[in-house]
């Protein structure tokens, strides 16, 4: 039971043992369980907010407002695949499982992405028919658990994403608590209904980059070299992981920073493992550039992308595209004030709800309860997501035009400076008002 706290004059809250810390210690003592939740890291981290664009002036030539053409398309998987993916916008929908999300939510993601000419991604547990039908471009995740892994679905996909890790939990597997293992989810995953399901943290039939190269070769053989092969890594030893992924033969690298979301993970994992998106992206670009593979192996960055400003800054640092998960769910209606009363019954409030693992989502998104799931109309949800993607795209174009770019991929690090020393060091751009990049000679 949570209580309101009144802060009276003279009361001083401890910075070390603040109210949240005290609550967590008390909760742990009462239950003997660590906290599991959804969402991503909630702590303050260096992020794209710490960068700003310089904009054109005397020495740069801007493009006219929303009128002059500023391209947004991007092609992924150009290195080896016979059929690369062409996206109309450089913003994709990240992998989220049917199981963690309702079938309606998965369909809505497909509808929204398709309306905007971009891709969505399956997740642990396999591909649903609704998702395939509603997604013009669908990336099929190939995960350690191989739940629902089916070669027929592999062939139906437009690209294959081998998942090594997730930004919210590098080195961790997944979990789907029993209350979300409905009969349909259980059947797709070949598990008894209602049990707490564990998703493996390492692949069952390969270990290390040399094996991964052979695994990629097998997947290419099975799909006759048609599909782009993505390799998704969590941001940790990013520089080396990116180089090894290239060596293994990836067409596309998906890099997920620690702000990336999850359906259910231990709080201690979410907040204390991995590195933020900002330094990870810079390290990845450095690794690709040193190999001479930047723009040849495409890079998708995810983890805390919220606005067109984030998209533009990620592209300026060298990413080919971004991927959104948490923001896409919010666009569908997650944490909507419309359901405030229901959130209150769960001991939370709109804007704070992160108990995706419980399956009681008032917005009907992270649930397998058919009554709750009905609250999300996939058509309406799809439309909301498309609107949001449209705004992200227009914002990105606005910033690109201000920097004089006729295509969003023409943005470059030179267009930005950092507001903090940390961000300057992590992003590898100068501290504003100086030409100083910490760590660079």
């Amino acid at each position: 039971m949570r209580h309101r706290t009144e802060i009276l004059p003279g009361m001083r809250e401890s910075a070390t043992f603040d109210r949240h810390v005290i609550y967590e210690i008390q909760r742990a003592a009462e239950t003997g369980l660590y906290d599991i939740r959804g969402w991503g890291s909630k702590r303050q981290l260096p992020h794209f907010d710490d960068l700003v664009f310089l904009g054109a002036s005397m020495s740069r030539y801007p493009l006219e407002g929303y009128r002059e053409r500023c391209g947004t398309d991007v092609t992924l998987g150009t290195l080896h695949a016979k059929k690369p993916i062409h996206l109309q916008i450089p913003i994709t929908i990240a992998g989220m499982s049917f199981g963690a999300l309702s079938a309606e939510a998965k369909e809505a993601l497909g509808r929204g992405a398709s309306e905007m000419g971009t891709s969505t991604t399956t997740g642990d547990g396999g591909m649903t028919a609704e998702e395939r039908r509603s997604s013009k471009l669908l990336v099929y995740q190939y995960l350690p658990s191989r739940y629902g892994m089916n070669p027929d679905d592999l062939r139906k996909a437009d690209a294959i994403e081998i998942v090594l890790g997730q930004g919210a939990k590098p080195g961790g597997g997944g979990m789907l608590l029993g209350r979300k293992i409905s009969d349909r989810v259980a059947e797709m995953r070949t598990l008894p209904p209602g049990i707490d399901q564990r998703s493996a943290c390492r692949h069952p039939d390969w270990t290390g980059p040399d094996d991964l190269a052979i695994k990629i070769e097998e997947l290419r053989e099975i799909t006759d070299w048609e599909k782009p092969i993505y390799v998704k890594i969590a941001a940790s030893r990013t520089y080396f992981d990116v180089q090894l992924a290239v060596k293994a033969g990836a067409d596309v690298i998906v890099l997920d920073g620690m702000q990336g979301g999850t359906g259910a993970t231990q709080e201690v994992f979410i907040e204390h493992v991995g590195i933020p998106t900002l330094p990870a992206l810079r390290q990845a670009i450095q690794a690709l550039t040193e190999l001479g593979m930047h723009r040849k192996v495409q890079l998708i960055i995810s983890g805390g992308i919220r606005s067109g400003a984030d998209v533009a800054k990620a592209l300026a640092m060298g990413a080919d595209a971004v991927s959104i998960g948490t923001a896409a769910l919010i666009a569908l209606g997650c944490n909507s004030p419309k359901y405030e009363q229901d959130y209150r019954k769960l001991g939370t409030s709109a804007g704070f709800y992160d108990d995706y693992q419980d399956g009681n989502d008032p917005a009907g998104i992270s649930t397998q309860d058919p009554e709750l799931a009905k609250r999300l109309d996939p058509v309406v949800g799809g439309r909301r997501l498309a609107n949001y993607l449209r705004v992200l795209t227009m914002e990105t174009q606005t910033l690109a035009r201000a920097c004089g770019k006729s295509h969003v991929l023409n943005l470059e690090p030179e267009d930005m400076v950092a507001l903090t020393v940390e961000a300057a060091a992590m992003a590898g751009v100068p501290l504003a008002g100086t030409n100083w990049v910490p760590g660079r000679q």
Binding site: M149, L191, P204, I222
Partner: protein, 230 residues
């Protein structure tokens, strides 16, 4: 078997072999393909989806017959990691030894290994039947979800660790059982599973010599009192 096609991998690539096998139409008489000089090449005959028979004359590398559907793949030699991984249906028969992760994540079909299978045999199996006539290495049937793993020889350490609903039958010794894996009673319904599997595999072993292992189901719901077991 009458071979209608012979592909010599000393002259042709694995890519061209697989491309031809993938192009086979499902509605036709069964064909027999013979593959010469595999020399440990990877991904031979993977992704097949029609009832064709492929015989490989020699050793194959990783992921031989991976994700097989309906086909029969016979290897006259040893195989590398992940033979018949994620098999959906059909038959894969190894007339030799298998490296690690044999039959990993397989959903269906039958994998027969005449010799020994290395570590992680049947890892995350999801319905496949596997018969190993020799012994199997450590961590076999790790997180095994469904299907049957028959080991006619001995099993290595941590057999069936974190197992779900797969059934394990071992004739020889078991070095150790993994977390939540226990020995269970052999009841008539289990002999009804084991006997036909042994027969289909051409194994003369007596079913009564086998012991059965499976999940204690104590880890199906996280309980703090079991924390020491994890």
């Amino acid at each position: 078997m009458m071979f209608t096609q012979t592909v010599d991998l000393a002259k042709a690539s694995v890519r061209s072999l697989n491309e031809r096998l993938h192009a086979l139409e499902p509605e036709r008489d069964e064909e027999g393909w013979r593959v010469l000089n595999p020399k440990g090449a990877h991904a031979i005959a993977c992704g097949l989806r029609v009832p064709v028979t492929v015989e490989i004359e020699g050793h194959a590398g990783y992921y031989c017959a991976g994700m097989n559907q309906k086909a029969t793949v016979i290897v006259h030699g040893n195989v590398g990691t992940g033979v018949a991984e994620n098999m959906m249906s059909g038959l894969v028969h190894v007339n030799g030894n298998a490296s690690q992760s044999a039959g990993a994540t397989g959903h269906g079909g039958l994998l027969i290994v005449e010799g020994d299978a290395s570590a992680r045999c049947g890892i995350s199996m999801k319905g496949i039947d596997i018969v190993v006539k020799g012994s199997a290495g450590h961590m076999s049937a790790f997180m095994a979800q469904a299907g049957n793993l028959v080991i006619c020889g001995d099993a290595g350490d941590a057999l069936g660790d974190s197992i779900y609903e797969a059934q394990l039958f071992v004739r020889g010794t078991v070095s150790s059982l993994g977390t939540d894996c226990v020995e269970k009673e052999m009841r008539p319904e289990h002999y009804h599973i084991l006997e036909p599997l042994l027969k289909r595999s051409g194994c003369a072993a007596n079913p009564s010599e086998f012991r059965r292992y499976g999940s204690a189901r104590k880890l199906y719901h996280f309980q703090i009192d079991h924390a020491a077991s994890y």
